[in-house]
Symmetry: C2
Subunit: 220 residues, 2 copies
DNA sequence: TCCTCATGTATATACATGAGGATAC
DNA sequence: TATCCTCATGTATATACATGAGGG
């Protein structure tokens, strides 16, 4: 419920601050054992690979460095006001290796193997550096580099940490329609923008309604 | 674990059959009560609206008819070999109301209010009828109408029912690497294409590996 | 034929927007 | 006039299924 950082966007867009936080996996499967070779069929635990406490994996890849870069990349991308989609499209359009939005997403979330990450890192690093340079020469330049419209200055998507979501859900179950003051308190407690929290509740109520009407009697 | 239907595609594409099944919500919240007006803050149950057993909702909308159409729509869309994205783009390009991929998705899954569904239905119905007509005049015509490439004949995405996924997960936990025979049996049991089940296991293993390496130690 | 691995496309979900309407000042 | 709500619906992100190369 704490590790959030408020980032101010570099571009001129008047925007509420962005919240970027270290994603923290809720599940912590950590049974060792790397390969299966007994006569017994492999179970889930056996597939999950060993802990690498040194920060390096078996291929000598610096995991810590990659984690740091992934976080850094996201912050810088958002500061430039770019979406994963834009980065993906730009990479595909530009020279060099092409990647899709979901590839960028997986990289930022580290839902890839260290090897893939290691391979992607320099590509993204180079691209981002160039994008930042263009941006310094004016936002027009950046948009041209990225190959998109100036865009309608949409607020950047907040991403709540799993912990924050859990906390919000707990509040929601107790009271789905908090008062202004309660919203303020919750926002402060979780360290997110108040408006973002308010909208979260609106959306939550809406989803709940929508998914429980036409659907309910569908059990065939 | 049973309600699946094998649909053969209308177009000439040589493709394994598609599986379309009635999605069945796992959660069944059904506490009545429509509006909140006590001094107590509303809780989740109170937001969920009443059951409409007659098949009609309070606005006189025929829910049953909508459910049927939603299902029908999906089947026909897939038979034409179209994706939700294509439908969305086509609707946006054509005259008439525009809708996005996620709107189509929500319609098919019925994650919308009956009112919205009622409004969307004729739009989709009309569009689909036209698309089917074009298709009869040859697939070229359809693609032109949709406004896309002939596309690379990708297999259509299977969608497993929640029940099927649950069953698969249970098998997976017991044995993450089933033998050929086991796969065959599971596929038969669940009534899905064998290849699709095999790939499901491959993907499951991969996901498990990817999400438990770089990520595990990120708990900040 | 089947696996793993990298990575894509299609779909689903989460956050955002804006119109229209109550309150509550 | 300032909030805040609901509702329809969008965009951005995340996840699930698919593909294809390389290997045995």
């Amino acid at each position: 419920l704490q590790p959030t950082q408020q980032i101010q966007p570099a571009p001129s867009i008047t925007q509420p601050s962005v919240v970027v936080a270290n994603p923290t996996p809720a599940n912590t499967p950590a049974t060792p054992q790397v390969h299966v070779s007994s006569s017994e069929p492999p179970t889930v635990g056996q597939l999950v690979s060993k802990s690498h406490s040194g920060g390096y994996d078996e291929d000598g890849i610096n995991l810590e460095e990659i984690r740091e870069f992934a976080k850094d990349f996201k912050i810088r991308r958002l500061s430039l006001g770019l979406t994963q989609t834009q980065v993906g499209q730009a990479l595909t359009a530009t020279e060099g290796p092409a990647y899709s939005q979901s590839a960028i997403c997986r990289f930022e979330k580290l839902d890839i193997t260290p090897k893939s990450a290691q391979k992607l890192k320099p590509v993204l690093e180079k691209w981002l550096n160039e994008a930042e340079m263009r941006n310094q020469e004016g936002q027009q330049n950046l948009m041209e580099f990225v190959g998109g419209e100036p865009s309608k200055k949409r607020k950047r998507r907040t991403s709540f940490t799993p912990q924050a979501v859990e906390a919000l859900n707990t509040y929601f179950e107790k009271n789905a329609l908090p008062t202004g003051q309660e919203i303020t308190d919750i926002a402060k407690e979780l360290n997110y923008d108040r408006e973002v929290v308010r909208v979260w509740f609106c959306n939550r109520r809406q989803t709940l309604k929508n998914t429980s009407k036409l659907n309910v009697f569908q059990i065939p």
